[in-house]
């Protein structure tokens, strides 16, 4: 057995970046306040000191320009890691992400791939109000040409980056803001993990709770509540929203015949709708109840704590939805 160490999600991310930069000169980190400040969420703390300003680049507040520049740098032979402070700011770079990063390979008939990793903080739950609480990973998962990953565990925080950097095409990594302080143990030799498959985080037989990212913990809490009612929940961590691991989703539904999708994104047109549709397409005859979705209320996220909590998926609501599917 390998040794383990006490760490946090934040430190695991930093270790992953450090390891990647040590291993490959082409890898560099770029974004707003990644250098002197140490990263808005302190992920890159100390990296400037180790790698210097050429490879840990503070940028102007120009999301479109620096994301576009990283796309260019990727085409030019580098392996950039871009940090976009929060998902809402990524909207300022949406043109570059969608029209260039996602499209160039196809548009050029296969000539220009974009080996780029864009990291950003996503999600609500910290009373940051309407402009800093989005969960737009489902939006990005709409776009062909991108891979969208959502590390929800320490292993994934530590291991997804290395695999993403090996991907010849753009990978968007969404880190839920509530996870950074998450503590736990990790093998000292933890490293690259696959970014193709979903994971069963808790096996069960009665109902599938399908989720990812910051909602995984809530789904597991809901599973514990359901356990008290004698209901056994199968908790699926999607891990990658594009491409979706249809097989894992369908296999779970075939086991349980009841499905609840938990997504911090909004319900209308969200990734939850996509997952639900795929269940209809591939496992309809295994469903013994309509699929339930537990999503964020259709409001811009409010500041007040009680309102924000009411707007977001919570374990009791998830458990209630699971019980509804069971009739």
């Amino acid at each position: 057995m390998s040794e383990t160490l006490e760490t946090t999600y934040r430190d695991a991310l930093r270790d992953a970046i450090r390891e990647a930069m040590r291993a490959d000169d082409r890898v560099f980190l770029m974004g707003e306040d990644v250098g002197d400040y140490g990263g808005c969420f302190a992920v890159s703390l100390g990296l400037l000191e180790e790698f210097g300003p050429e490879r840990v680049r503070d940028t102007p507040l120009s999301e479109s320009a620096f994301v576009g520049a990283d796309i260019g740098a990727a085409i030019g032979g580098m392996r950039p890691i871009v940090e976009i402070m929060t998902v809402n700011f990524s909207l300022l770079a949406l043109d570059q992400i969608m029209n260039n990063a996602a499209s160039l390979l196809h548009m050029s008939g296969g000539q220009f791939n974009v080996p780029l990793v864009i990291r950003m903080t996503t999600g609500a739950g910290r009373q940051l109000a309407a402009q800093h609480s989005h969960s737009l990973e489902g939006w990005y998962a709409h776009i062909p040409g991108l891979r969208v990953v959502t590390p929800a565990t320490l292993e994934d925080a530590r291991g997804m980056l290395a695999t993403a950097l090996r991907d010849p095409d753009p990978v968007l990594m969404f880190e839920h803001g509530s996870l950074y302080p998450m503590k736990g143990t990790l093998a000292t030799d933890a490293g690259a993990v696959d970014i193709d498959h979903a994971a069963v985080r808790r096996p069960g037989t009665d109902v599938s709770l399908i989720t990812y990212g910051g909602s995984l913990g809530k789904a597991l809490a809901a599973a514990a509540l359901l356990d008290q009612d004698g209901v056994s929940a199968d908790v699926i961590d999607l891990r990658t929203l594009r491409p979706l691991d249809d097989t894992a989703i369908v296999e779970s539904v075939r086991r349980t015949h009841h499905a609840v999708i938990v997504d911090e994104g909004w319900r209308s047109g969200g990734i939850s709708a996509e997952i639900s549709a795929r269940i209809m397409e591939e496992a309809l005859y295994d469903l013994d109840a309509p699929v339930e979705r537990v999503c964020t209320a259709e409001v811009p996220l409010p500041y007040a704590k009680h309102l924000e909590e009411a707007a977001l998926p919570q374990p009791p609501g998830i458990a209630a939805a699971a019980l509804r599917t069971l009739g």
């Binding site: 015949h257 309809l284 005859y285 295994d286 469903l287 013994d288 109840a289 009739g327």
Partner: protein, 428 residues
């Protein structure tokens, strides 16, 4: 007519800027065309002299149509005009019908290929479809298809399961309007002996009272709707049987003692074996006899509801074994741990409502079985034997028979056989 945009199919000539005899150079503007988006100047791609202008201003022509001809010199009257533009590849466009028209045509059984359109550009309108449908109905036609039965509301998994377990969903429609769920199907499979199921391990069947009520309702409704029942009854003297049983029980520990039901069941199984036309299933309009007698035992569940799992091959069990298996079956029924085969195998069901005090039971057959045997309460009655009247323990035995499968004669022979067996308890 040149194409001036990817979505341009036709254009309207606004004016000619040249006339026959004019010399035209490549790139000269020769006409102005309205593309529906804007008035656009049309340039010539050829050098030459205008011979014929073929399109009048104000006319709308499709892209690719020749609008004018050019020659080396002036117009040559009667000469064959040469096309002025590069011929445009035009495939005959497949007729485009609106979704409304297509749906209407489908609904009315109209073949759109046979309909002449009166809409813009010859498109088919809904009125065209209506007219075509009316014209067709004026002719002798095939009978209209029979209306489809009302759709049954069931979950997809319940549908699949119903197919696998051979359960007719129509019998399970719930009175509360909720869709039929997998559990309802399993419950029904437990009540209705259906086609042989796939082998199944012992599984937990959580019987929900409301679902079970609905399942029973559906099944019994189906029975009364489909099965022409006939009813027979006889009274059987149980003196010998009970004496024999008490004698036997006296020497045995409680766990091995018999109850009267064991004797009644055994007698019934043996009688059924001797009267095979009552033991089996009515499938697709004919009777399919069963070699073994799998006695369905109606067991009431605490909290309501009823299941009738099979006591397999009851005729070949010793009374002691039958007793033991019956106890096991009842216990497992009430714990919800029946095997799939037990839920689906019965070939003849026995109801023993007498246990709850009633004297006579007129039962309802479990489709697709063809008979149901009922035992009433054991009561003491004055009874004449060999010319003397005594008080004897008796029970009323009834038979509900499916008149499609058997007649009363068979039924009465069967009841007589039960009586006979109970008079020779040591043979049971």
């Amino acid at each position: 007519m040149p194409s001036l945009g990817a979505d341009m199919d036709e254009g309207t000539l606004l004016e000619w800027l040249v006339k026959p005899g004019d010399a035209v150079h490549k790139g000269d503007i020769v006409a102005v065309v309205d593309t529906a988006k804007a008035a656009v100047e049309v340039e010539s791609f050829v050098e030459g002299v205008v011979q014929h202008l073929l399109v009048e201003p104000g006319t709308t022509v499709p892209v690719g149509e020749v609008m004018a001809t050019f020659g080396e010199t002036g117009p040559a009257p009667g000469g064959a005009p040469a096309p002025a533009v590069v011929p445009v590849e035009r495939h005959p466009a497949p007729p485009v019908h609106s979704p409304l028209v297509r749906r209407e045509a489908e609904r009315r059984g109209v073949d759109l290929a046979q309909v002449v359109g009166t809409g813009p550009g010859g498109t088919i309108t809904r009125d065209d479809v209506t007219r075509a449908a009316e014209a067709a109905s004026a002719l002798p036609t095939h009978p209209r298809p029979v209306a489809r039965p009302t759709r049954i509301s069931a979950t997809p998994y319940a549908r699949r399961l119903a197919e696998e377990l051979g359960v007719d969903l129509a019998t399970l429609v719930r009175s509360d309007g909720e869709p039929i769920r997998a559990e309802d199907v399993r419950t029904a499979a437990s009540g209705a002996a259906a086609v042989p199921p796939t082998p199944e391990p012992e599984v937990a069947h959580v019987f929900r009272p409301d679902a079970m009520r609905a399942a029973i309702a559906a099944l019994m409704t189906r029975s009364k709707r489909e099965i022409p029942h006939y009813y027979l009854a006889t009274t059987v003297d149980l003196t010998r049987a009970l004496d024999w049983m008490h004698d036997r029980n006296r020497t045995l520990p409680v766990t091995e003692r018999l109850v009267p039901a064991a004797l009644l069941l055994k007698a019934t199984a043996l009688a059924a074996q001797a009267n095979p036309t009552l033991n089996g299933l009515w499938i697709d309009g004919s009777f399919v006899p069963s070699k073994e007698v799998h006695l369905g035992i109606a067991i009431s569940l605490r909290g309501g509801g009823l299941v009738a799992p099979a006591l397999h091959d009851a005729a070949n069990l010793s009374v002691a074994d039958l007793m033991a298996q019956m106890r096991d079956l009842v216990t497992r029924s009430r714990n919800g741990r029946l095997r799939g085969s037990e839920l689906s195998d019965p070939t003849l069901t026995v109801t023993n409502l007498g246990e709850q005090g009633v004297e006579v039971v007129h039962g309802v057959i479990y489709p697709p079985q063809v008979a149901l045997v009922g035992f009433g309460r054991v009561v003491e009655r004055p009874w004449a034997v060999d010319g003397l009247i005594g008080v004897r323990p008796v029970t009323s035995v009834t038979l509900a028979g499916d008149h499609r499968a058997t007649d009363g004669f068979t039924g009465s022979r069967f009841l007589a056989a039960i009586d006979q067996r109970l008079q020779q308890p040591e043979e049971l």
